[in-house]
């Protein structure tokens, strides 16, 4: 079969190319525009063609195969070299993250030596506390933490102490001036869950377990954006009738 392509590259004036091409490239295109005749491009090919089959074998592969294969080498060594280091780095991460995300429905936290830390360091317990806060109608007095009939829970003042233990005790046994006892209404671990959520309202737990908004009407900032407030005992007010 005779080659359908023309043998000699047509020499075209430099100006035939598209202007913006050369403006952008600032180079001279060696490729002339194809022949403007209809069907020419299809039948006759383009300007600069190497026509002689002898000049270029169809499958040019001048290098032996073995040398090519070496390109993939570094990847293997990199993994081998750095793999163990990466693995070692991951182990402390593993230990750090175990507890905070556990769905601790068996309440292993209750058996922990420091129950308060165990409960408030776990996102699941705080979320359960959030649901209990609604179910037990805490919002009826405390609103969504902003306070109403009861004192606000998202500020930095704590009448009866702001530690996990103190809050749990407040919930379980009640306090003067209206806080009822929930000892016979909820279980002890539910009280701890509630306490953890109450502390989350002022961003006391670690940042990465804090809940955000609930699916309910609310206009307060999500706890994830809260700044951790200091825990201060309530300052004795001059006017005793004020309820904070």
């Amino acid at each position: 079969m005779s080659s359908p392509f023309r043998a000699d590259p047509p020499s075209l004036p430099a100006g035939r190319g598209r202007g913006w091409v050369r403006l952008r490239k600032k180079r001279r295109s060696p490729f002339p525009s194809p022949s403007p005749r209809r069907g020419e491009g299809r039948e006759r090919g383009f300007g600069v063609c190497d026509l002689s089959p002898a000049a270029e074998p169809p499958h040019p592969d001048p290098l032996p195969l073995g040398e090519r294969g070496k390109g993939a080498g570094p990847s293997g060594t990199a993994v081998r070299r750095y793999g163990p280091i990466v693995a070692l780095l991951l182990i402390p991460l593993l230990l750090a993250a175990c507890h905070r995300e556990t769905r601790d429905y068996k309440s292993d936290a209750l058996k922990a030596s420091d129950r308060g830390a165990a409960f408030e360091g776990n996102a699941f317990h705080i979320a359960q506390g959030q649901r209990l806060f609604g179910w037990m109608n805490c919002a009826g007095c405390h609103s969504h933490g902003g306070g109403g009939m009861g004192p606000p829970l998202m500020d930095d003042e704590w009448r009866y102490g702001g530690s996990m233990g103190e809050i749990a005790a407040t919930i379980l046994d009640g306090r003067p001036n209206g806080m009822p006892s929930f000892r016979s209404r909820i279980t002890e671990d539910q009280a701890w869950q509630l306490a953890a959520f109450v502390r989350a309202l002022s961003a006391q737990p670690r940042q990465d377990v804090l809940p955000s908004r609930g699916d309910e009407p609310r206009n307060t900032e999500p706890m994830t954006l809260d700044e951790r407030k200091p825990i201060r005992p309530a300052t004795p007010k001059q006017d005793d009738s004020s309820e904070e």
């Binding site: 769905r103 429905y105 179910w135 016979s184 909820i186 279980t187």
Partner: protein, 315 residues
């Protein structure tokens, strides 16, 4: 058959809706099976065909065949679309005049069921069970209290999602008596697998009898142990979530227990109803259905026995 003594099948014809869907499924199955066979014959022919030499391409004939093939597919699909539309209309008509109004609210991971009526004396609440009279179209209003659930009684009708903040509804006309298992069909969290609903389809007379019983408040317990149990249930943690009509227990965030012992199962189809299972469930709900919202209430063995005895009386 195991303790379930029920079944759950989308191929059932136990309701007018599911029977219509089964018909439509049969049509689709027949048509698609024909197409499958046709394609496979062509494929096997292409594989086994004895090749002649080059230059005998039948390409023009194949191109014509392609046009015919596209026409055939298009016509068939148009037919199937039409069938779909007609059956969909049929489904909408199937329960056009409901005689029973029910409201089902899904919660993680149980069903709150309320039989509604214009007359407040006929309203009552139950949980994890649904009784329907055979042959009577029922209209069920569907809501969700937390995440998306899906109401699905495969034997009776297709499913309908329950999306918080939206109200959906479904109409069901059961045809055949029986006990059917329904199950939440939208992934809803830890215990999605154990969120079943017992649907009992019974004769209208049986249904009326059941409703009369369900409307009554819980009977006062007789016997020391059951009475002690009632004191514990109404005086301790149980009552802050559960309600039992006729007692001070009036919590709204957990299943109604008024006629608890008359149900077939405990904890949304998790355990069959029995004394041992009630005790096991209350002793440690998290061991039976891990992650559910019922806490393990610390009870002494005597208290546990008393509570179990009391709950058993709630027929």
């Amino acid at each position: 058959m195991s303790w379930l003594d029920t079944f759950q099948s989308a191929a059932g014809n136990d309701g007018q809706q599911s029977a219509l869907v089964s018909e439509l499924f049969a049509i689709f199955l027949a048509v698609t099976a024909l197409f499958f066979v046709a394609v496979m014959i062509f494929l096997i022919w292409a594989i086994l065909r004895r090749r002649r030499g080059e230059g005998e391409s039948r390409e023009p004939a194949l191109r014509r065949l392609l046009v015919g093939w596209v026409g055939l597919i298009s016509l068939t699909l148009a037919g199937l679309t039409l069938a779909t539309w007609l059956y969909d209309r049929g489904l909408a008509r199937a329960a056009a005049t409901p005689a029973l109004e029910i409201e089902v609210t899904a919660n993680q991971w149980w069903w709150d069921v309320r039989y509604a009526d214009d007359d407040a004396n006929w309203i009552f609440r139950t949980a994890n069970e649904l009784h329907l009279p055979a042959g009577v179209p029922a209209h069920i209003t569907l809501r969700s209290n937390d995440v998306i659930h899906s109401f699905w009684v495969p034997n009776l009708a297709g499913k309908q999602d329950m999306i918080p903040g939206r109200e959906a509804d479904i109409s069901i006309r059961p045809l055949r008596r029986g006990v059917y298992r329904a199950q939440c069909a939208e992934f809803c969290g830890l215990q999605h697998a154990r969120m079943a609903l017992d649907v009992t389809v019974e004769s209208p007379a049986d249904f009326i009898a059941w409703r009369a019983a369900a409307l009554k408040p819980a009977a006062a317990p007789v016997g020391g142990s059951a009475q002690a149990g009632q004191a514990i249930v109404t005086g301790r943690q149980c009552a802050s979530c559960h309600s039992i009509a006729g007692t001070p227990a009036s919590g709204q965030v957990a299943p109604d227990l008024t006629h608890f012992a008359s149900r077939r199962t405990i904890a949304a189809g998790t355990l069959p109803m029995s004394r041992a299972n009630i005790a096991a469930w209350i002793a440690d709900p998290q061991a039976v259905k891990p992650g559910n919202n019922m806490p393990k209430v610390p009870l002494t063995p005597a208290e546990l026995a008393a509570v179990t005895a009391y709950l058993e009386t709630l027929k």
